[in-house]
């Protein structure tokens, strides 16, 4: 007995088939085939060489040849892959049953055709080119994936391996072809590709709610045809409402839209309702008569009469967390029935769509929550301001009374001043919170006019200097610079930067303020000698509520909105802010503002603002 390895090696040598081992791994029956085939060829050769010998011997050899021929024919026919012997001109000399099954033609039909006839035109050239190279001795054999046209007109993907058998004198005798049907694999690959593609598309769209479901429906109708309709569950979880639909035929889509525009299905009602309740897919490979009758009596009737329906799948759209809706995919009359395989594919697509829908819902929830927070902040700030108004009003009344009557001691007087100062401080904090919510809600506006920026900076710096004990301000202010902007907002910017310079240099030091007119910008520079900002945090410094990690909130408190406001106000003026800082040495903030005429028109305040219902009087 030869070992199978030796046998394979021998067969490989005989036929020049280098990938025999991998072919046999895929299809073990091939080993039998090649073994019998080799024996048959050997007997043929022996029979020619002993033609002149004794008749006994000839008879013996003829019998052996017949036996090997029979054995070869049997293995050839029984092989589980398609096999053929093909003449150098492409005509089929011999084909096995499996090949007939693959292409849908009988043996007789194939005997009158060539492989060229059956090959899909796009794939023919490459096949012929390989065959030529084999005939020219440039290649021993080749293998390629190509398409045949089935007798029924459909395309079949096959994997083809071709070797050439040469006659004793070396002239090409015939090709041996091994043909494997890989349509299934190709379809799985194509669907996998589609799934990946669909996922990418759904996720890319997931932040644009109105387009998302239309995209999903369109993709699925195109992939699984002819029509796809997506219904989502209502907020009260009682009904399903068609949300998106697509048909490959625009006319059919138009008709479908009129049919489903007002449609609502109750949970558990109809097929969709049943799928919704059970959470399981439903395949109607063929439409049962009863359903056809129902459809004829339903709102779908005009659509059905024109386009028909031959097969249908209803798939639940559900994320891990909840049931979201259903997806119907159907084919018009003359279409092919859906298979369980299609249901698996549709379910995969629905799962991906569910993920995208879930993301979209979460995103909208988050947006809603942000909006609620800002509205709340805005209302809360106003509510805080009302008692503050009464408080500060009474302090002012007390002060006026005391001035009239002269009854307050100096200490009482000081307490009164502190009450008023701190009340104002509280008011500024409330205003800051309101500014943040205005920015978030897009209600932030500027009141723009031309003003003397040099004088403005000088005034703010002078006033600020009065409050300092441990710090010294050095100001270098170029005179005569004018700026077109919101003076109150710019005061907020300068106040915030000066306050920060002092706040983050708790050991005191010099705060340097410089105002310059550059070619295209006004530059305001504020430098301190404080604790500085770690380099890797400087880019995040202007984000809302951000506080640098080297700030100990137990020592230096703050909301983390000052620089956010500075950045936003400057940006609303068409300018920008730069920061430069070395930890333990200090920070420099540079505000660049456009020179007078450069303020973008879009940033100007609304000329006819409507009153804002979120801001209370």
């Amino acid at each position: 007995m030869q070992s199978s390895d030796e046998l394979i090696a021998e067969i490989q040598a005989t036929f020049g088939i280098h990938n025999l081992r991998s072919l046999i791994e895929q299809e073990p029956g091939l080993l039998n085939f090649f073994e019998s085939y080799r024996a048959h060829v050997q007997h043929q050769q022996e029979s020619t060489s002993v033609e002149q010998g004794a008749s006994d011997e000839r008879q013996q050899i003829a019998a052996a040849l017949q036996a090997s021929e029979a054995r070869f024919a049997a293995t050839f026919n029984q092989a589980a892959v398609g096999l053929s012997l093909v003449a150098p001109d492409g005509s089929w000399l011999r084909v096995n049953q499996k090949l007939c099954d693959i292409v849908g033609y009988s043996r007789d039909e194939l005997s009158t055709r060539t492989f060229q006839d059956l090959t899909y035109p796009d794939d023919l050239e490459i096949d012929l080119a390989y065959a030529r190279r084999v005939l020219n001795n440039e290649l021993d054999q080749y293998s390629l994936e190509k398409r045949y046209i089935h007798k029924n007109g459909s395309l079949i993907w096959i994997n083809l391996t071709v070797s050439l058998v040469r006659a004793a004198d070396g002239t090409p005798d015939y090709f041996i072809s091994v043909i494997e049907d890989i349509s299934e694999r190709k379809r799985a690959e194509a669907r996998l590709h589609m799934l990946v593609e669909a996922s990418r598309l759904f996720t890319a769209k997931s932040l644009h709610a109105p387009d998302l479901l239309d995209t999903v429906a369109q993709q699925i109708a195109t992939l699984l045809g002819d029509v796809c309709m997506i219904s989502l569950i209502s907020d009260d979880e009682q009904t399903l409402k068609p949300i998106a639909s697509f048909h490959r035929n625009p006319e059919a889509l138009k008709l479908l839209h009129t049919v489903i525009s007002d449609m609502r299905l109750h949970f558990g009602e109809g097929l969709q309702g049943r799928v919704a309740q059970a959470g399981q897919s439903l395949l109607l490979a063929e439409i049962p008569d009863e359903l056809l009758r129902n459809i004829r009596q339903s709102a779908y009737r005009p659509y059905f009469e024109q386009f028909g329906v031959v097969s249908m799948m209803i798939v639940p759209i559900q994320s891990s967390a909840r049931f979201l809706g259903t997806m119907i995919v159907a084919r018009d009359r003359n279409g092919v029935s859906y298979t369980q395989d299609d249901v698996v594919f549709a379910t995969d697509l629905a799962d991906r769509a569910a993920l995208a829908i879930e993301n979209d819902l979460l995103y909208r929830d988050a947006q809603q929550a942000i909006h609620m927070r800002e509205v709340f902040l805005s209302i809360a700030a106003h509510e805080l301001r009302t008692p503050l108004t009464a408080l500060l009003g009474n302090a002012q009344i007390l002060e006026r009374r005391a001035m009239r009557n002269g009854v307050l001691t100096e200490r009482d007087q000081r307490s009164l001043v502190i009450i008023q100062e701190q009340g104002q401080r509280l008011n500024t904090l409330i205003e800051t919170l309101l500014d943040v919510s205005r920015l978030q809600l897009g209600h932030f506006t500027l009141s723009v006019q031309l003003f003397d920026f040099s004088a403005f900076v000088q005034r703010v710096v002078d006033e600020f200097g009065l409050t300092l004990h441990r710090h010294t301000i050095h100001a270098t202010i170029a005179p005569g610079i004018v700026f077109k902007g919101d003076e109150m907002r710019m005061e907020q910017v300068l106040q915030n930067l000066l306050t920060n310079a002092v706040k983050y240099s708790p050991m005191g030091g010099i705060v340097d303020v410089r105002l310059e007119q550059l070619a295209e910008h006004i530059r305001l520079t504020i430098t301190d000698q404080g604790i500085g900002i770690p380099l890797n945090e400087q880019s995040r410094l202007f984000a809302q509520f951000y506080r640098a990690s080297n700030v100990d909130p137990k020592r230096i408190s703050g909301l983390g909105i000052g620089l956010y406001l500075v950045h936003e106000i400057v940006a609303h003026h068409g300018g920008h802010v730069q920061v430069e800082s070395v930890p333990e040495q200090g920070s420099t903030f540079r505000v660049y503002l456009p020179s007078e005429t450069d303020l973008p028109a879009a940033r100007l305040p609304f000329s006819s603002a409507q009153h804002d219902t979120t801001e209370r009087g």
């Binding site: 108004t389 009153h611 009087g617």
Partner: protein, 124 residues
């Protein structure tokens, strides 16, 4: 609230503490103030009074009838349309971008010195 005696300032605000503070302030400064808690009350007061006040201090967000609605109705009634109105609002942006037509705008918390100067000017 009284409509029989003559007064020169009408305070319209839904918050008790603010009405109280303003009446006390105005009385100490020598004015007579009458209060309304919303626009509707203010309209009724203006229409029933023998003498019109010299000025109305008007809050904006109020129940029943807002300051905006009050102002509209007031301006459409020739009998009371000429009474000057100053808006007192917690919305600071009202000063820069008024959403209502008025003589003057005072953001809350109120600067009483400024408010007093304005009222004196109206009563001269």
């Amino acid at each position: 609230m009284s409509t029989s005696q003559s007064y020169n300032v009408l305070v319209v605000d839904d918050d008790y503490a603010i009405r109280d503070m303003l009446t006390m302030f105005l009385e100490e400064e020598g004015f007579n103030a009458v209060c309304a808690t919303n626009g509707r009350e203010a309209i009724d007061l203006l229409r029933s009074a023998a003498d019109q006040p010299r000025v109305v201090l008007l809050d904006l967000n109020m129940p029943v009838m807002t300051g905006w609605e009050f102002r509209q109705e007031q301006q459409h009634d020739p009998a009371i349309a000429n009474v000057p109105v100053a808006v007192i609002s917690a919305d600071r942006s009202i000063v820069q971008q008024p959403t209502i037509d008025a003589e003057e705008y005072f953001p809350k918390p109120l600067d009483l010195d400024r408010l007093l100067a304005f009222i004196q000017q109206c009563c001269d």
